[in-house]
């Protein structure tokens, strides 16, 4: 009837030399033991709760015993689970005991020290921004939280709340669908065709002027971004389309009523393509050096994006600089790419960037340039690259005239 087996009482009594115990006394004692144990457990639970834990540890038990003014049990630590040994004292009568490991003293002394546990440290992240949980690796995914009740259900619950906090179920649809008005759709089509129309300059200029000034275009931005990415990826051979795309971005950036910050990550790749792309335009049609103009234009565009949105996104500039540097250091890339990369680095990273990123690599790059200068077909392109490097070094000189290093001098004399 009690959870505590009265047999145990008999065993303990026998172990201290009391062989005959009245049955009633045994029952009584068993019940009492159960009561005392639950008393200790109740107190131990309190300690567990205040330690904000959900598992009871041996520490909690000894704290509880101390509170009840009982000598705590020593020798049990909570970091290692207890190992129970089993011994049989008869058929169907297993006896459990705590196994004490035998430790060889010699071995213990000579054993290497255990690893120092890692230091407690903390990290910070956004759990919610303006009431919405961002989906970043630090936050659980939708799949992880399926078993949790996160939003209110039943009468009186506000369905929009669930949708706003991003926990919406399939059944809850946002109240407003993203609908483009007929006029906007028409406007979008007209603009796109006008921009790509190389026969009518006036038409084009009007389209860009509208993009630069119209205050009601916000709904169209995602469509323009999509259009841009599409054109740049599919028309790498056509300098005209690439140039027009860049001008489209420039126009959007200039529009004071548009907020482009959320779209910058999707715009930058297109611009970078026009800056450091391997082959832009077709040499047979446009000549070998016309693409440098496009690269110049994209570089200035990129620098204006970086200037405008760099402060709000801490990773924007480093990301651009990193991809420029990567292409600059890759000697297998064509000279056009190198030109774009140097230009990009100069404009994005400034004088410090030139000193840190370009200068150390110039010595090695010299070999590549030499080779190109000797090759007649590429001499002209090499000239552009040298101009770009010169420009970078000029910038450095303006910044730190006295710091114009030996490497710069050597190079400059060679170029002359």
């Amino acid at each position: 009837m009690s959870v505590w087996n009265p047999e145990n009482v008999v065993d303990v009594a026998e172990s201290i030399g009391i062989t005959s115990l009245n049955r009633d006394v045994i029952d009584h004692l068993a019940r009492d033991v159960e009561f005392r144990m639950s008393q200790v457990l109740e107190e131990a639970l309190k300690f567990m709760r205040h330690a904000k834990r959900t598992t009871l540890t041996t520490q909690d038990i000894s704290q509880a015993l101390r509170l009840l003014e009982v000598e705590p049990l020593y020798g049990y630590e909570s970091t290692r689970p207890l190992r129970f040994g089993e011994a049989s004292i008869g058929p169907g009568q297993p006896l459990f005991y705590v196994e004490d490991e035998e430790v060889d003293f010699e071995k213990l002394i000579n054993a290497p020290l255990p690893k120092v546990p890692r230091e407690i440290s903390f990290t910070a992240h956004w759990l919610a921004v303006e009431g919405v949980q961002p989906s970043i690796p630090q936050n659980p995914t939708q799949a992880d939280q399926r078993n949790q009740e996160l939003s209110a259900k039943g009468p009186g619950a506000n369905p929009t709340l669930a949708a706003v906090s991003g926990n919406d179920n399939v059944s809850v649809k946002p109240l407003v669908k993203h609908v483009l008005s007929k006029e906007l759709q028409l406007y979008f089509e007209r603009i796109c065709s006008a921009i790509l129309d190389d026969s009518n300059d006036e038409y084009r200029a009007a389209a860009f002027a509208s993009l630069r000034t119209d205050p009601g275009l916000h709904q169209l931005i995602p469509y323009f971004v999509q259009f841009l990415a599409d054109k740049v990826t599919h028309h790498l051979r056509s300098l005209f389309i690439l140039t027009q795309s860049m001008m489209l971005i420039a126009a959007l950036l200039e529009n004071p009523s548009l907020y482009l910050a959320p779209y910058v990550p999707s715009i930058v790749p297109s611009v970078l393509t026009c800056l450091i792309g391997k082959h832009l335009g077709s040499p047979s049609l446009d000549g070998t050096t016309t693409h440098f103009a496009l690269r110049d234009y994209s570089a200035s565009l990129l620098s204006s994006i970086a200037r405008k949105y760099g402060p709000s996104s801490s990773t924007l500039k480093p990301r651009i600089a990193r991809s420029c540097l990567k292409h600059f250091l890759d000697s297998h890339k064509p000279l056009g790419t190198h030109y774009g990369a140097i230009l990009g680095l100069t404009l994005i990273a400034g004088a410090d960037g030139v000193r840190e990123l370009i200068l150390p690599n110039l010595k090695a790059y010299d070999a590549v340039l030499q080779e190109a200068v000797r090759d007649d077909a590429r001499a002209e392109e090499a000239g552009y690259v040298i101009d770009a490097i010169k420009k970078a070094l000029d910038m450095l000189r303006e910044d730190h005239a006295e710091l114009r290093g030996a490497v710069g001098e050597v190079l400059a004399s060679r170029m002359d």
Binding site: A128, Q133, Q148, L150, G156
Partner: protein
């Protein structure tokens, strides 16, 4: 039944195996005696009929009808069945309540729990351990949802002496369980019990008279509280919530006076903000004027002086506590700078003005996750200027980190000391359960070359840190030298919580010795002792004006009490929680207190009226460790063991309070109710087993990755900072 000798009380008092009905029949008379007894009756009857004494014979037959074959009386009264009587009577009452009228059912159901407890305690007290266990296991199931902890605490009681040592049993035995019922329900109960006097009515009546304090109210006058509409509304779910005035310390709602004849007038509270010192006010105003002239407010912003005057004038002056009663040390230059910065932050804050257009305000939460803790962190605390975070560990030390990764230096460091952004404070000899920084406000570094910098100046850092531990001490640490300054010893048991006064200088602690104590930092003895809780005082909180404190306890008590720190007396008491209270927070407006328990329920209480405002559910089981209010007192945020940060709308639900709405719109719900009446019980049961039902007051919930949230805090600018330990 009739075959066995009915046990008499005297026979069962003694070793349990001999007591009760289950004992084998070992009557001394034995078979021989039985036979002779029966034969004797037979012989006498035969003799009488032979002689023709028919009237005597009839009399004998009549009298012997009440005895069984063994010549012992057949029990006609339930009291004579010994330990069994409570089971049968409880069954009787339970069945009657189930079949009673729907409008009385919710009230009468509340009776079952105290009757259950006292039946069980009586059984144990009368030494029927076996019957007691049987009774307990048979009937405990319906109470496990609401009274889980009590059921668990009562379960191991087997012997009369355990009654003396079990806290919960003592609480029930020594106090009267208070219950409010309508006249009609109570009368019908008494009538039923008197009718069934012989089947056990007297037993229940005895319990009701001795251990219960039933108050009857007229349903008409009670109005909304016990009104018909309220009862009908309750039928649809909220049955498991105890009434506000029910329970062991059952109070007169709103008042801390537990006397039966307590006056209905509540003691007056001064809930307004503490008035500022005149000198300090002048200094702050001058400083603000100065600032306004150098940095004119941008756009539509108020000037700082306007903002400051608004803040002072906002409250009516009659409900502010008097400064004379609560002495503080004279203000310093640092106080002036802090007040100035408070006004500035208050103007520039992100405003949360309650629900706008049905959608809750967008709250931003920064989560600080602690790694490699091995579950050894007990508490986390942020400093008021958001520059430091401290964690108390199970390994008895405290660790303080700088949030902006600045080296924590001390003038006493040896020159070779390698600075790092964290320090350990070692001194306690038991797990550290609570920490509290002295008040501080981030004061930006004086603006250099035109633009203001984001870094805070080092002297905005808090000066002191308090910690409380299982070693029964509270320690005060200096954050200038990173050493222990004072040890406060007075508590006799582990100190669960400690809180600095919002104005510094004073602090309050709560302990397992069932007291809360008020201290001032320069004195090593407590100034006030707050006694009254029936179990551990689990947590404490300050009223924002510093004139009152709140304490909450767990165990069998589960009350929130409000104390006047000047007079040291209780001024309010709130009952209604069903779990151990784990967190308290008073709104900055000073009119509402929020309390949360480990069953995932948050309750809001109004201080002026002393009444419950609403219950909010949503957190999983396992404790809500922290609560905090937005600056405008319009939003409450909570963090708990289920690893979520939840945002709550604190506005009162008008719909559920106004009778009209329930009455009219209720027609639809009423039909639903009757339609589902057959399956109603089953639905309720499955609901109880399932996860928690989220109440519609929740604005949003943000889950973390396996990190229980230990602390949430609104900054002065209405950003939420949360902290928790990652437990893989």
């Amino acid at each position: 039944m009739a075959q066995q000798p009915p046990p008499s009380r005297t026979a069962s008092v003694g070793p349990p195996s001999a007591g009760g009905m289950n004992a084998p029949a070992t009557t001394p008379g034995g078979g021989q005696g039985q036979n002779s007894n029966q034969n004797l009756n037979q012989i006498v009857l035969e003799y009488l009929s032979k002689k023709g004494y028919s009237r005597t014979e009839a009399m004998l037959r009549k009298e012997s009808a009440n005895t069984d074959a063994n010549g012992q009386p057949i029990p006609s009264r339930v009291e004579d069945t010994g330990g069994k009587m409570y089971s049968s009577t409880f069954n009787l009452v339970q069945n009657w309540i189930e079949s009673s009228l729907d409008i009385y059912k919710p009230e009468l159901k509340r009776l079952l729990w105290p009757i259950f407890v006292h039946s069980f305690l009586n059984l144990i007290g009368d030494f029927y351990p076996r019957d007691g266990q049987e009774f307990f296991t048979t009937f405990r199931e319906p109470f496990e949802a609401e009274h889980e902890d009590d059921v668990r605490a009562l379960a191991p009681i087997h012997e009369p002496e355990h009654l003396q040592q079990n806290n919960i049993a003592q609480l029930y035995r020594n106090n009267k369980y208070r219950l409010t019922m309508s006249h009609m329900a109570y009368t019908s109960l008494v009538m039923f019990l008197e009718q069934h006097e012989r089947e056990g009515g007297m037993v229940v009546l005895h319990i009701v008279q001795n251990f219960l304090d039933v108050r009857t109210v007229d349903r008409q006058t009670a109005g909304g509280q016990k009104g018909l509409q309220r009862l009908l509304a309750e039928r649809n779910g909220e049955q498991d919530a105890p009434a506000e005035d029910e329970g062991i310390p059952g109070h007169n709602p709103g008042s801390a006076n537990m006397d039966r004849n307590a006056p209905t007038v509540l003691s007056k509270l001064s809930l307004g903000p503490m008035p500022m010192e005149a000198d300090l006010m002048e200094d702050v105003k001058a400083e603000l004027q100065d600032h306004d002239s150098t940095h004119p407010p941008a756009g539509a912003q108020n000037t700082l002086v306007d903002e400051f005057e608004q803040r002072i004038k906002r409250e009516p002056m009659d409900d502010v506590p008097s400064r004379d009663l609560l002495p503080f040390p004279p203000s310093t230059a640092r106080d002036v700078a802090m007040e100035v910065q408070k006004v500035k932050e208050n103007r520039d804050r992100f405003r949360i003005e309650g629900r706008t257009g049905g959608v809750g305000p967008g709250i931003s939460v920064t989560m600080f996750t602690f790694h490699n803790t091995f579950d050894s962190i007990n508490c986390i605390e942020f400093s008021g200027d958001n520059s430091l975070v401290a964690a108390g560990t199970a390994e008895s030390y405290i660790r303080v980190w700088s949030l902006d990764n600045r080296a924590l230096t001390s003038p006493t460091d040896p020159p070779s000391y390698q600075y790092s952004s964290s320090r350990r404070l070692v001194g306690h000899s038991g797990p550290v359960y609570a920490l509290s920084f002295s008040p501080s406000v981030a004061i930006p570094e004086p603006a250099t070359n035109g633009h203001s910098s984001n870094t805070t100046s080092p002297d905005s850092q808090p000066r002191y840190l308090l910690s409380s531990s299982a070693d029964t001490t509270i320690r005060l640490w200096s954050l200038d030298t990173w050493t222990n300054l004072v040890v406060y010893r007075a508590h006799q048991s582990p100190v669960w919580d400690v809180r600095f006064c919002p104005h510094g200088h004073y602090f309050v602690s709560s302990s397992a010795d069932r007291t809360a104590r008020l201290w001032s930092t320069p004195q090593i003895a407590p100034l006030r002792l707050f006694v009254g809780h029936d179990s551990d005082v689990e947590t404490v909180a300050w009223h924002p004006n510093g004139a009152y404190i709140f304490t909450a306890s767990g165990g069998g008590d589960r009350t929130v009490r409000m104390w006047d720190i000047v007079r040291g007396s209780a001024v309010r008491m709130f009952t209604g929680h069903t779990g151990n209270i784990t967190a308290l927070a008073c709104s900055p407006s000073g009119h509402v207190i929020a309390s949360a328990d480990d069953r995932g329920e948050i309750i809001l209480w109004s201080l002026p009226t002393g009444r419950l405002i609403k219950r909010m559910r949503g957190h999983g089981r396992g404790g809500i460790w922290s609560l905090d209010w937005s600056v405008e007192s319009s939003v409450l945020v909570s963090g708990g063991a289920d690893g979520t940060v939840r945002v709550w709308d604190v506005q009162e639900n008008k719909e559920s309070q106004q009778g009209k709405v329930v009455g009219e719109g209720g027609a639809g719900t009423k039909i639903d109710g009757t339609g589902g009446a057959v399956g109603g019980a089953a639905v309720a049961k499955s609901k109880a087993k399932k996860d928690v039902v989220v109440s519609p007051d929740q604005i949003s919930a943000f889950p973390t990755k396996k990190s229980p949230v230990y602390k949430v805090r609104f900054t002065q600018m209405n950003l939420v900072m949360a902290a928790g330990a990652y437990l893989p």
